[in-house]
């Protein structure tokens, strides 16, 4: 069960300063972070990913394993997709849901860095979503996808949300997560 609380978190990096931000996220909820470029959406996700320490405020209720897609590339470029699947499975000590991975079955023997950006993202999304983790941070995760893949990923996220997974997402595209969002947090 996820009961994540961010209380007045803020961070300063050079000229940029994220004003204090508070929100809570529970299992089965999806929070959409909105705001223009440079408003601090990725910084918020990085703080939740433990990559960035907030200068002020605190974050509680983070699970041990978090699924992150889009913040940084997360798979080994020089490895095959099947090797990456094994690597992520054994590092997370979870087993992938074969049904979700069926969409990338034909790519198993290809090197990850030989795939197009769109297919790389599809592999990352399928792989991390198939681990069925309690919390996902998705940073513009659907941006490089074509319409069909976006709809398919959205349907999977919706299904997982209803089965109790928590999501914190960012997207500049209207309609990606608008109807799925439990709350919208706007950064100025």
């Amino acid at each position: 069960m996820i009961d994540l609380k961010a209380q007045d978190i803020s961070v300063k990096r050079g000229d940029f300063e994220l004003p204090p931000l508070s929100f809570s996220l529970k299992s089965g909820e999806l929070i959409a972070l909105k705001g223009p470029n440079g408003s601090g959406k990725t910084s918020v996700l990085k703080m939740l990913q433990r990559r960035l320490r907030p200068d002020r405020g605190e974050i509680s209720g983070l699970p041990d394993i978090i699924g992150c897609v889009g913040i940084e590339p997360t798979l080994m470029g020089s490895w095959k997709v099947s090797e990456n699947i094994q690597w992520i499975e054994s590092l997370s000590r979870k087993t992938c849901d074969a049904k979700i991975l069926s969409g990338i079955e034909h790519l198993r023997h290809k090197r990850f860095d030989h795939l197009s950006l769109g297919w790389q993202r599809r592999v990352e999304l399928a792989l991390f979503l198939s681990l069925n983790l309690p919390l996902y941070l998705l940073d513009e995760a659907l941006s490089p996808l074509d319409t069909e893949a976006r709809l398919s990923a959205r349907t999977e996220i919706e299904r997982m949300k209803f089965s109790g997974t928590a999501f914190l997402v960012t997207s500049h595209r209207e309609g990606d997560f608008d109807s799925l969002a439990t709350r919208v947090v706007t950064l100025s």
């Binding site: 990559r51 690597w87 054994s90 590092l91």
Partner: protein, 206 residues
């Protein structure tokens, strides 16, 4: 831990080849460097240890460069992978790759210097012993200097490892307690510093 070790072994080819590309030409240059008065080439033991230490700079720098390139640090944070496991796995693979390098360089020594006798077992044992002392210290420095250029690594690494080069040369002549204690001190201090400072520099890097 096994997962990290498998990953590092699989990625070892990315550090073994650059180290060899750095070491083999150096070894050949040293072989062709002849003293113009005595017409003798550089002693093979000197050439072996200079090459061994110099090529290890590519090894230590590049293993964390691989991790950095694939953003593995983000994954370790998201999956809360214990830092000591990352360090230990890297150190063990470094020792293994250093052993392979020493084996390869000794073969080249045999071909190009043709020494009257080459105490293989003794030299390989000294190489493993020295590798164990070098690995914690080199692994930590490899992580620390990841944000800098690769050539800077040698500038920091070579002066710091000079006592170890001397000890390695001394031990390849014969086992001596003085040199062994120097290598052991490197091992103990290097391990201690690595385990205590690794987390700090890991957080700094991300």
């Amino acid at each position: 831990m096994r997962t990290l070790l498998q990953k590092d072994i699989r990625n070892a080819r990315f550090i073994l080849w650059p180290a060899l590309w750095l070491g083999v030409p150096l070894l050949l240059i040293l072989q062709f460097s002849i003293d113009r008065f005595s017409f003798e080439s550089i002693p093979w033991k000197t050439a072996y240890w200079i090459t061994f230490f110099f090529s290890s700079t590519a090894l230590f720098y590049r293993s964390f460069a691989q991790e950095h390139r694939f953003q593995n640090f983000s994954l370790y944070l998201a999956f809360k992978t214990p830092r000591w496991q990352i360090l230990l796995s890297q150190m063990l693979v470094h020792i293994g790759v250093l052993f392979l390098l020493s084996l390869f360089y000794l073969l080249l020594i045999l071909v190009f210097w043709s020494p009257r006798e080459l105490p293989w077992v003794h030299l390989l044992m000294v190489s493993i012993f020295v590798s164990c002392a070098l690995a914690p210290f080199g692994t930590l420095l490899g992580l620390m200097l990841q944000i800098e250029r690769e050539f800077l690594f040698s500038i920091f690494f070579m002066p710091l490892s000079t006592p170890l080069v001397l000890a390695a040369y001394g031990l390849s002549e014969a086992w001596s307690w003085n040199w062994m204690s120097l290598v052991l001190s490197f091992l103990v201090i290097g391990s201690f510093l690595s385990f205590f400072l690794f987390e700090f520099f890991f957080d700094e890097l991300i």
